[in-house]
């Protein structure tokens, strides 16, 4: 299967960094997921064969890491932190706000596949709580109104 040139360059480079091929597995899976949308059967097969692992080895690793998924998510994955620091400053209210606005729950995806929602554990934004990550972008010191603007921006950009 075909990945981007960027992916291939990074993959080839990373293989030279470790004494074992397997060591590139975790970051490689995440980069592959970013390109394909999820770790489909095809991706699992491809990565396993490149690294001389069984598909089971790869699936065992996928199931351990919370960011890795075998099911497609929406284009924009809205990850709301409700862990202690965010909870104290309104993280749960943000989650409820997102649930209402997007009409989906934890790990749900909107019918148009634009948004997914996830309640996540601490994302390292405790001093700027409450915080949300949309894909890899951080949004901090949020209120439901500010979050609305963020989500509207993504909605507009399609």
């Amino acid at each position: 299967m075909k990945f981007s040139d960027n992916f291939e360059a990074r993959f080839a480079d990373m293989l030279t960094h470790y004494p074992t091929k397997r060591s590139v597995l975790v970051p490689t899976l995440l980069y592959a997921q970013d390109e394909v949308g999820c770790l489909s059967d095809e991706v699992v097969h491809e990565i396993a064969s490149r690294l001389e692992l069984t598909e089971l080895d790869v699936r065992n690793v996928i199931s351990y890491y919370s960011m890795l998924t075998t099911k497609p998510r929406g284009k924009y994955n809205v990850q709301v932190c409700t862990n202690i620091a965010c909870m104290l400053r309104g993280g749960e209210e943000l989650l409820e706000h997102c649930e209402k606005r997007l009409g989906i729950g934890h790990k749900g995806t909107t019918p148009d596949k634009q948004f997914s929602l996830e309640e996540v554990e601490c994302i390292g934004a405790c001093s700027w709580a409450p915080a949300v990550q949309v894909n890899y972008d951080f949004y901090e010191n949020l209120t439901p109104e500010k979050l609305d603007q963020v989500l509207e921006g993504y909605k507009q950009s399609g």
């Binding site: 975790v26 690793v61 890491y65 202690i84 749960e92 001093s127």
Partner: protein, 440 residues
Amino acid sequence: MATLVSHPDEVKVVSKRFGKGATAIGRYLELDGYKAVQKALTMAPDDIITMVKDSGLRGRGGAGFNTGMKWSFVPKQSSKPKYVLCNGDESEPGTCKDRLIFEHDPHSVIEGVMIAALAVGSQKGYIYIRGEYRYLSVIMQQALRDAYARGFLGKNIFGSGRDLDIYWHGGAGAYEVGEESALMESLEGKRGIPRIRPPFPAVVGLWGGPTVINNAETLASVPHIILGGAQWYAGLGPAKNGGTRLFCLAGHLNRPGVYELPMGYNLKKMIYEVGGGIPNGKKLKAVVPGGSSTPVLLENEIDISMDFDSVMKAGSMLGSGGVVVLDESTCIVKFALRTMKFYQHESCGWCIPCREGTDWLKKTLIRFHNGGGVKKDIDNMQYLSENMLGRTFCPLGDAAAMPMIAFVKKFRKEFEDHLEGRPCPFEKEGRVEELPVLTH
């Protein structure tokens, strides 16, 4: 991008280049960058170790072990390659300091890894950054490319005749991987299941080779010690607690933020002066002093020095520097529930006391918080937690048990107030969790 704050009481060491454009290697060099490693290249490895040992630098990830001492455990001779591994899998709830270091001063981490490698005779280092911090991985990868381009890394670094490679590595979402043995498993491309110890990583680590593992803030402190000297660094804090610390002030505060304060700074002052006190005229209820795994302190227990030994004496831990402040409107049962929900989610399931213990605690707390608790639950939660302590491969079990024991011991009355279907005194309306529960 996280907002920077400052306070007159700050002593900027690790944070001295924050906001100064030091991600660019040229700027980093202008700000004394890569001078420490060049000095270290002229020093005997044992002298570097002694210097770091004497500086009183202790692990900033949470355990607080003397860094120089840790380095000294690496065998001088080894048939297998030695490694240095920087732990940037920052995930302890309440902690957001390594993020700022990677964002504003990535070269200081690289330089710290280089010095550690020189001290223990390693030629390979890895900087592991959690998967959620993708933008920081981008910054770090660029910083490494810049360091290679200048000849600071690779073959014959700084013309010294020594070779040293440092690589970036990324995670994909797992708190437990912040534990050193699980971190190595993850870097080797596996599930982050902890390894039994001994042997310790200093003797048998990555791919069986001796490995030094330090937190990103710890390593970023090292160049400053090499340049400023052990005595200077040790003198910034109380005895055996050298230097400064990035304290992440979070929760119910007027001015939350990451502040670099000397070790031993008074916790009460940190909350009321640096953090600006509690918003809306509310009273302080409790403080979690060092990340979610550290036992909660009451309002009358916070007039203490924030160093490893003093916080330990006060019955908690300095931990990872995440200070979470709770005002009087916080329901401790709910706070305990959110904490246990986290540990239950993150337990890898390898050790039964942790896997079953965190799950039972979470389920009991959900039922309890929703008014379905019985008196015996309170003792059971304490008993269960006490029996998790010390019975697992890695400290995740302890990390869940320690705060739980403190919640029950220090807030028994509040737990009792939730009994027999009485509504949670703090909630306007009950938030219903996934388990079937009694209504409020």
